[in-house]
Symmetry: D2
Subunit: 383 residues, 4 copies
């Protein structure tokens, strides 16, 4: 068996759901082993939490600076680091670890500011290290299948893309109650000015490009915060134009009661249409002109190998969010293994990378510009 990837984590302490998701996802396929971490900005908490997780005491660090400096002088240092702090810290930390020769797995969005993303990218592109961004929804098997059949022309020329990512947890002014997640995610300093665009919109944007294979060309955005006194946008109505003439609509909201994590993608081409919803992710609807719609099930023998290799269990046994997330980790592991031998990624490994991360930041920035500028079109380019 290949040696497991020993990794560390920055952020993701007590109560931070996304940290725990990363840890479970990393563990699922047995490629990763958490051995070090700086889990909180509070040094005491950071160390205590590492101990709870079962790390050896000397690798529970007070903060990420200590973590880098001490890991780097160990005989066996961590091979990768997972960064799950608030957005504004991502790249500063990433740079430290990359410079130490450690692969980076970074939560989205890259940063709170586009300029920082650009300058970081210039640096990071020079390193030979892996930099992954966890746009995890691209890891679902049927998302992979959709991408595969689109790339093979099965739905024809794409005409319109309908994307939405709606939640309701910020329908009231939760940040006032001290709810930790709400506080930093609605703080422009920590999360950036994008609000819901940064928090979930980038997921939807990435997914639409990933599946369609199209590049965005222009964006027009009408942003608003519906909750009085909120400092970031909580609802976005967006029009898109893609390469090749396709158009899109994107709705992002965190104030839509009844939507828990309503990420939904529909792509319509000249021959067929595809519909997928994250809350019921084991099915993909394929409607070919002139035929009755088909319900493609995850795990079905009729699916592409692109989908098959992203699933663990037979059809009818539902997989969920963590499994999709773990697929990203599985692919990162393949890249790390290749990297050990000085090879580039195996073909078909599609985890989101630095350029996807930069594209997400450009998306946020272009949307903000359009909104400031009376909702005019803003040209931009994705990955």
């Amino acid at each position: 068996m290949i040696k497991k990837i020993q990794y560390g984590m920055v952020g993701g302490g007590e109560g931070a759901f996304i940290g725990e998701v990363h840890r479970i996802a990393a563990r699922m396929d047995n490629h990763f082993e958490l051995v070090a971490g700086a889990f909180s900005s509070d040094s005491e908490r950071s160390i205590r939490f590492g101990t709870i997780l079962g790390l050896s005491e000397d690798r529970c660090y007070e903060n990420y600076n200590k973590m880098v400096s001490k890991e780097i002088v160990r005989e066996e240092t961590i091979e990768a680091v997972v960064i799950v702090t608030p957005n504004h810290l991502h790249l500063h930390i990433a740079e430290l670890f990359l410079k130490a020769g450690i692969h980076v797995i970074c939560d989205k969005p890259l940063s709170a500011k586009l300029e920082q993303a650009y300058s970081f990218a210039n640096f990071a592109r020079q390193t030979k290290k892996i930099f992954a961004v966890t746009y995890n929804y691209s890891g679902y098997p049927l998302v992979r299948h959709a991408r595969e059949i689109i790339s093979q022309g099965e739905i024809g020329e794409i005409r319109t893309i309908q994307i939405e990512y709606a939640q309701d947890w910020l329908s009231e002014k939760l940040e006032e109650s001290g709810h930790k997640q709400a506080v930093w995610r609605t703080d422009p300093m920590q999360a950036g000015n994008g609000g819901c665009l940064s928090d979930i919109g980038t997921h939807a944007f990435h997914l639409s490009c990933f599946v369609s294979g199209l590049k965005p060309k222009a964006i027009l955005a009408d942003l608003k915060h519906f909750v009085e006194g909120r400092n970031v946008y909580d609802n976005a109505h967006i029009l898109l134009r893609f390469s090749g003439g396709a158009k899109g609509m994107l709705w992002v909201s965190q104030v839509a009661p009844g939507n828990e994590n309503g990420l939904r993608l529909r792509i319509y081409g000249s021959k067929a249409g595809l519909e997928w919803s994250q809350e019921n992710p084991n099915y993909l609807k394929l409607s070919t002109l002139g035929e009755s719609p088909q319900i493609l099930g995850r795990g079905s023998a009729n699916l592409s190998s692109a989908a098959a290799k992203m699933t663990r269990i037979p059809s009818g046994h539902p997989e969920g969010y963590i499994e999709g997330f773990a697929n990203i980790y599985k692919e990162i592991a393949q890249a790390v293994y290749a990297s050990r031998k000085g090879k580039s990624f195996p073909k078909g490994v599609l985890f989101p990378d630095l350029e996807d991360g930069v594209a997400g930041m450009e998306f946020i920035d272009a949307a903000l510009k359009s909104n400031q500028n009376n909702n005019q079109w803003v040209l931009f380019e994705g990955k």
Copy 2:
């Protein structure tokens, strides 16, 4: 029993599905009786079709001009006329019949041109006759219930409205095959320049205003015909702003494979969200913040009287499109009965009227203007 309303029909000959729908809907509750008609622009066909429908021979007319002139001199003339011709003829015919003192039930949209709609409206407002426009989707019981609870504040202040009306029947260039419905609906002369906006977009627009109780304030539209060589738009991406600060997104398409008649309305307020889909019209999802979503079923004892009076059968026995359509006819009948006594409409009678028709035309016009003008906002007002 009250004397039935004897009515005539213009248009709606062989193969015109909407004509038959009107006839069944009118018949359903036994308030209307078809006694006269000019069903086709071809006089022979017109007469033959009337005979097939069982009309007495002397009331199967060669054309609508003859119909008006002869009906008007009969001892007992028709009390109402249903106009289901291509759009560009609606108002010319309507004017003839209104002048003859006959109530008019007109299919949507009012006309192929806004100017015509305006000048007609100026005339029609002077008459004391009923003028109804069959935005039939407003007749569904759960649509009425949604409107009712919104008006009572149950979902709080409205924030965002997501509307879509997607079909796929024009995904290929059907008009080239001589398909009659496709031919006139894609002919700017007969249908107007709006294309899918006129054909189905006005339904969606009307529904969103009807249910939300909000007035539109501005529109921004990105229109396209994806089928090469088509003369009208077959896809529309639209942003809306409403009175009171609410915003909306509206997608209209006739080129989205897998969508048969996908009219769907979602309205989110500060307290709750509502979701309804025309293809599964017997259920309304109500999601109140802090509570589990509820599935309200048509016919349930828990619904408002506004919904209850629009349904005929117990819950679990599905009603459909024709029943919703017939509800509009039922309300028109109540208005006609009131009119016989010189009274105004009974309270709670909500069938779409002249002003709704004009608003639909303004919607089309404003969308076209926005599209021509680099997708800028165009101010406009609904009913």
Copy 3:
């Protein structure tokens, strides 16, 4: 145009939902015209209700005896009668009208007693008159399509049939509150001993035979009334065996909270499976081994002509309960028209008839016997 069928109605007075359903269904396609009736056992109410319906006064009868005797001596008598009384009266009335040379459309089940059904059938088979039983669920277009493709072998040899018809409206002792429908339907004298079997189980039984094309061979039933003090069964757990080796399970309940009118049919063969649900009747799921499941939509161009001729409007415009019911009436009309010319039914006309009615009574009787006899198998034969 063919002369409409003038018909009368017995039963179906104020508040009887099924009477109104029959009237709307008969009216929908313009083949029938209600001209006479005895609507209530209370003669005054009977006459009043006829007047409300707009019948001419001399054809609003005090009771069905008067109705027969007077109609029979009119120059133009009714051509058909619709019987929608409580079950125990059906056949007595039917006999009167058949003897008068009038076609009979009878609600299900035939009777409250099997013996009465047998002796009536012996008589009725001798007449040349039409006798239809309104197992209306067989009128849904996708039910027809399911039957058609099964008869063509598309799902292979049938193995198991899963049928259920669940409601919840009798979950509490509604009959004690004086609720009229509950009172007679739970009274063994009026409804028979079958309870839920008579009221809704016969629908499910008929549907399973109609669609599968199989004959029942044996039944095993475990019946119960869960509501204390109720005089008839409100829940039935039934096993079935069919000709050709297929087996079935049938659940009937009127005490299952959350089920409004949950009639659902699933048939599995050696090649494919079919699933249909009455509450969402515009879709049929077809799962062929080795292929992804397909969702067949009513009105789709891919359906059989057997389905196509049972629908009025394009796909995506939902049809419902009344439309399915009206399809039965449409077929009866075709039979009446043929009868006028002394011809037998046109091919493909499939409305439920006397033998279906008798089979339903045998089903109830066999189930009761099995239940009394310690749930042993009881042999019986359907139509």
Copy 4:
């Protein structure tokens, strides 16, 4: 952090999906660590597979006998063993390990024969070791919630339970093609005579008792193998009677095209009904008499703590099969931890145990007896 539970595995070699599921489930919450195994009846394969899994060479055993004898003399032996062999070997192996003082986690059903289960149970009850049976579907959060609210009387007195577990993967004679899973599961020697009853029926049976809290009293079964020449039953139609007067229907099939892993449970009481489906496990429908049905979502703040502690991520982020399975492992871990301190299980730990396993065997046996005896009722008792 508590010391992880080092465990071994017997069976579950290459291509055995359930072995991999156990390993992922055990790993998910970081309580278990696989350190030893005998994965195949072929000793070479057994060792090779252990190596692939990354076990140290000296703990990759040729067979389970060697495994027990060598583990038992190690300084640090495994604390638990997971048995995922064909059914007939479960208890022989379990006995070996229990005698060695090792906790046992055994796949279902207990055995291929009831007698063996009884004699094993007599032995096992004497040990102080944990014996868990992986009826994993009881680990889903909403299954726990259903159990919780039923136990609190929220749905009233239970009347009828509708259970089904349908698959289609054995619709054709797959065992003839050498398909390994099909071969042993249709071999009476390895799997027992129950066929689909053993393979999946026991899951459904356990789930219905677990959620309802009722004890079975009698069973009546109509069994069949529809695939010609198959040696075990592939379809079962079953009636049940429970303590307290409730009744049930259970359908089990592996020949129902379109059903992948269709485990579905519906429980109806005097006050409310509950519906849950394994293929869409993140939602539970609760229909209370007089109220609109509610859709309870996993992770919602409205759920019981019994559900909350069985979930890892926020609502709207779907969990699936592996997460539910891992919940069983999480509870077993809690029991092992308690056992280390000589304590009994913490309250609320509900993983299926020896008595559940025995009940499953009695269920199979009683069903077979009923079927042999002309489908008469057979009395039996569950846990």
